[in-house]
Subunit: 347 residues, 3 copies
């Protein structure tokens, strides 16, 4: 097992689960059917009908209950069969039910032991419930181990190469990077002073009424939090105004949002987005950023797919762990510790 199970992952976005239609999704190697009950609350059960093994996600939702599309078995959100035409269902075997919560604009799932799931431990994003932030994002299916994507996001030197036309610039390579761990959060920082903004940030400056040709100070502060959340403070301020601490009017400041959910050992669901702390009311800007960010993250996909293939082909070859990789290395240490703890039975 290459991922912890007793933790919250983003399973879906709310719009993926309409009232009448279940969503089938493999999470942590477990096929799961998600749907909304009569009150609109999310429920999640194994995607396996106890009658004949059909996927429940091929069925439908009637009066808030999940109905198998093969022979009409009605499944409860607790994994017990509610009813089936012409049958007594009391003795039917249960299927797994999962702890799920809808919060902060995402559907969260706990793929491990249900009684350990505490909704209070779902992370609260900085922009949640705040009018002075705006959020937009999307979902990609990535053909790689979720940890390769964490590595990718915790070492932004790749922007210079993979994203040369949008957010990359040679100064990223040249700026020193510093990594520390604070209360279980891995933080990797890079600051670039007195540079010219790359195209993506020029677009943002223009939208915020700043001169896109002006010299800026740029920052990237990657934060990894278990199991696989990487949020990155990114932005530029007019040069010499304090960088990240500059006045709102003098900077464009966003958080790159990455919730990563393992699908299998070699694939993952990538819920990406950007929370923006400037011009939050500008929905055209939200769309433009989503489009731009979607293109940028698409550029990573082929690289990660091929890196994954190479690592499968050369399983015994050790990779380097340079200073720029420290963020990823530290993140994996935390993940490994969680996995090890799950393997050790509690006393």
């Amino acid at each position: 097992m290459t991922f912890p199970l007793n933790t919250w992952y983003v399973a879906a976005t709310p719009d993926e689960i309409p009232p009448d239609q279940p969503l089938g999704r493999r999470i942590c190697d477990q096929p799961i059917a998600l749907y909304r009950d009569a009150e609109g609350r999310i429920a999640a059960v194994e995607d396996f009908c106890p009658h004949r093994g059909a996927p429940l996600s091929l069925g439908f939702v009637r009066d808030g209950q999940l109905v198998c599309g093969y022979h009409g078995l009605t499944m409860g959100g607790d994994g017990r069969t509610v009813s089936m035409p012409g049958q007594r269902v009391r003795g039917f075997p249960c299927i797994r039910a999962y702890a799920v919560e809808e919060r902060h604009g995402f559907i969260w799932i706990w793929p491990g032991e249900r009684d350990q799931a505490d909704p209070a431990t779902i992370p609260t994003p900085i922009w949640s419930g705040r009018d002075d932030w705006a959020y937009g994002g999307g979902l990609y299916h990535m053909p790689c181990d979720y940890r390769l994507l964490i590595d990718n996001l915790m070492d932004l030197t790749h922007e210079t190469y993979v994203h040369a036309s949008s957010i990359g610039q040679k100064e990223i390579d040249e700026a020193p990077v510093a990594t520390r761990v604070e209360q279980g959060v891995v933080i990797t920082e890079r600051r670039m002073a007195g540079i010219h903004a790359p195209p993506f940030w020029q677009m943002a400056m223009r939208a915020h009424g700043l001169d896109p040709a002006a010299e800026v100070d740029r920052w990237q502060i990657c934060r990894f939090q278990a199991p696989s959340n990487v949020h990155i403070d990114v932005g530029v301020a007019l040069a010499g105004r304090g960088g990240f601490d500059a006045l709102q009017a003098d900077k464009v400041y966003s958080v790159v949002v990455d919730w990563i959910t393992p699908e299998t050992a070699t694939s993952c669901w990538y819920f990406w987005g950007m929370a923006r702390h400037f011009q939050p009311q500008d929905s055209a800007l939200t769309d433009a950023i989503r489009t731009g960010q979607g293109k940028i993250f698409m550029e990573d996909m082929e690289m990660l797919r091929r890196q994954q293939q190479n690592l499968l082909a050369w399983p015994d070859r050790a990779l380097l762990r340079l200073n720029i990789d420290t963020g990823g290395v530290q993140s994996r240490r935390i993940i490994d510790a969680l996995i090890a703890a799950e393997r050790t039975p509690a006393t």
Copy 2:
């Protein structure tokens, strides 16, 4: 092995095998080349040229003999090489030849031991050679164990869910089902009295000059016969006229024809069709029924494909065997006994 071999399966329909062109088809995990000899009779041999292993089905038929398309070896219907340009072929190794017969509008094959094949045991369908019946059908490649398709056909409660817009109706679920075994044939019956006909049967009533809005009695009598034939008496009669036993003028009566042939352990060939005992001369009706039935059976495909995937992912999970499943359960018992008998050497 999940299928018996010493039995007749439908291999193809006659139109699939023109005089000059062989047909390659995998049956019971055996790649086979079928073709017509000089008299138009069907022959079948392993799809493997003894010269260099090319598939014989990529070749052609010349003067009723199968010629390898790679180097011109001519194969006989008995698996012995007839000739090869510039070669003496007497010492060439033989390949397997199969017992095959063309009967009742189908090509039959016996994938097991040839000397046990008795054409007299090929089943004679009720409509064979009769002018007062009409037949139309098609062929689908199904991505599932052939036994899942038998289960599907021996439990028609799925019509209510999978085929809701054509032949399904809630009364199917509500009607009790009775299963019995008579002389090796598993029979599952369901009768619904005083209902309204679903769309498919309204179309049939209209074609037969009956009022499609009239109340009807409906019947479904599934018959499984080894190894994998399911024929289903289906129809509706004006309510109270005797149901299945009503006069010809008062009912529309058909047989759903399902010949199922294993391709691999997880795929099969599905020769489906409908034999109709009303308006047999109406070829436009035959076409309309074929189109409608093709759409209906296509609805099963995705469900069966995904059920198969689920069963492969959870191989140790036992499925339920409800009263509605009795037809499938009994059918599998017969299949299992045939497979076991083939494993036991005769004394």
Copy 3:
């Protein structure tokens, strides 16, 4: 291992490797990145960045050095890292570098031990550097063991069947074939006297000013040279003028060029072409021949793919070795001896 490694294979054609872009290609089961250095010379290294395992072929070439497209590591043609932004690279692990040469219009690679690679052993084709010859060709990816393609080319009786509409004719089957081995070269000859030219050769005769309807003497002299080069003298001369030895004006004479490079155990790169010893200045003829030859060799692809599948399905079934197969059999003997020699450590 089904191929020798300490030998030269064609890796690519020069046009596949422009100055600024690497080419990724799997050769003998080894993923390799090929590129041109600052002097335009070909270099080749493992397609694996020692930093994080990304394929170097996804990167680019800057100032004649291969730059990883993920984080900017610069790799040298010797497999040692040259530099990386912000890093000291002296301790980085090396990757494999390959001996490569550009000669005679092809890029050659030695996938085995580099210090054994002697460019003097690269074969010199008969047409190399000669104005009275013209060459045109292409590259196909073939879904079969490279040895099946050698078999194909060393037994041209298949032309009668696979290429019936272009170069096949029944006289090929009827003409005796003679095979001999001379200094490590397997030679299979077939001559046909007083026949009519098939369509491809009629086209060539017309281009050379000969009457395409005239009787001709035709020859096919297949030459296999280790590891997997098959060159075939082919042509027709006006009947009775000496065949292969006829005057230039009375014959059309070409060499079918086949350089075959294993990709995996069941796939290969097929560099095919034709060197022509008539009308060399006629570039429209070169194009017409390339188009025609491409169509002909495409006809082999499905046959070889399906033959490969059959051989994988029946691994224990011995194939026949007829007189027509002697060329292929002798070629495999030479290959087998090379493979065995590589397995035996030198004393």
